[in-house]
Symmetry: C2
Subunit: 263 residues, 2 copies
């Protein structure tokens, strides 16, 4: 964690007093992802698990589909570059990168801009959960969020089963926090089948799409969803739960996965 | 505001009870910006002031520099497209768009990924403010945030002088909220000289750069900054104030603009 925050001096007003004091702010660094020698994208992120972030990003964007395609991942912390080498021919990757950048209208985020679920399969999972499981997962989740507690500046995400947090990540970017988890799962062979993603962030369409593409059946957040997030959750079969706070929560889509729901 | 939220039915757990109830979620729509016939980017945003958003985005990204360059802005609400026509030749714009997409590494956000202030001028303003002015601006600012109060799902931003809110915007994307303000200022001829931007969001490098590029001397937020946001504020001369809450606030950079600071 120490690498992810920085101590700085601030001028603090408190109504009664004003003084110079030490404060902790979250770090934010540019990270360039280079795929087979082709510069793909530069993200702003928290400087941890940059390898998982790069792999998760490529995975979410459909530029790699399995661990077997990845030959090598090397992180240059100082320059803020991750080189990902695949078993593809460099020229083939060049074509892929060109098409990707072209198709995304210059934004580098191909599917995100779409409000349709074309190309998104229905989530295939018979997982059931209870409201109390979700609430106690979020209770644990909140206690995991060390950097946020210190700085108020990052988003957290976690892959969970119905009882425990399995993988946890934090980042200044909410997309990055999810991608770090998905990247770690891919590289470490951690199954996402019948799992739950807990998040601290608002659930926009982009976040929902990342989760649905990985066939993860439940997405929970302490924050609000957008209408497009709810629509896509309904269409893809993701159980979407928002405002998980204390003993309260709202289920926005596919409440049939809640065992104790009165249906 | 009605256009920006949607009523949906949710399954609500409260510990004691579970029931189906009506809830309000914030809307999120894809918006494609077409510049002189060239598709530039698709943003996800709240469906209000799409013309200002498009113009503000182009302005922030350096693709237009003044109102005089803009011939026409037409919004197609149904398809989610804003067509911006300039006085440039279509072929020239084609080159600009191509270079822009290329230079941004496919992300469509050219300057954002840079941690340097190359190309960013020093803010030129002798504005002074007091801590109590900032606190009372934020008090008013919070009361303006209607959609957030209803849905918990948007970011707000405002252009202010030291006493009043002059322009206010909300959006599911924090960059968009700022761009809507800057776009409105450009199109309506509202000066940003010696002004203050108040925001609800975390201050990342991207937000700081947008503000510094417009020569706006003070940026305040109820949330945290990142270290890169603080560094860029110091470099560009922006007075950066975070965690403005009630009678408290932290000044992270250029505190000399605070009249009552003990220096």
């Amino acid at each position: 964690m120490n690498n992810e925050v920085e101590k700085i001096s601030v001028f603090r007003y408190t109504g009664e007093s004003e003084n110079v004091t030490e404060d902790v702010v979250v770090r934010e660094v540019p990270l360039t992802i280079v795929l087979d020698g082709h510069e793909l994208v530069t993200l702003l992120c928290s400087p941890s698990y940059l390898d998982y972030l790069a792999i998760g990003f490529l995975y979410s964007e459909g530029l790699i589909c399995s661990k077997d395609e990845v030959k090598q991942v090397s992180v240059d912390d100082v320059r803020g570059v991750v080189h990902v080498e695949t078993f593809r021919h460099k020229t083939d990757t060049g074509e892929v990168v060109k098409r990707y950048i072209g198709s995304s209208g210059g934004r580098g985020l191909s599917l995100y801009a779409s409000s349709s679920t074309d190309g998104l399969p229905k989530v295939d999972s018979s997982l059931r959960v209870t409201a109390s499981e979700i609430m106690s997962l979020h209770h644990e989740f909140q206690h995991h969020s060390e950097i946020f507690l210190a700085t108020g500046g990052v988003h957290s995400a976690a892959l969970c089963d119905s009882k425990n947090i399995l993988v946890f990540a934090e980042d200044v970017g909410r997309h990055n926090a999810i991608d770090k988890i998905l990247g770690k799962c891919l590289m470490e062979g951690i199954s996402t089948r019948d799992r739950i993603i807990a998040a601290s962030c608002r659930i926009s369409s982009e976040i929902l799409i990342k989760v649905a593409k990985r066939n993860i059946p439940v997405l929970t957040s302490k924050s609000a969803p957008t209408d497009l997030g709810v629509k896509l959750a309904k269409d893809t079969g993701v159980t979407l739960i928002g405002f998980v706070r204390g003993q309260r929560m709202n289920v926005y889509a596919n409440e049939w996965r809640l065992n104790d729901a009165r249906r």
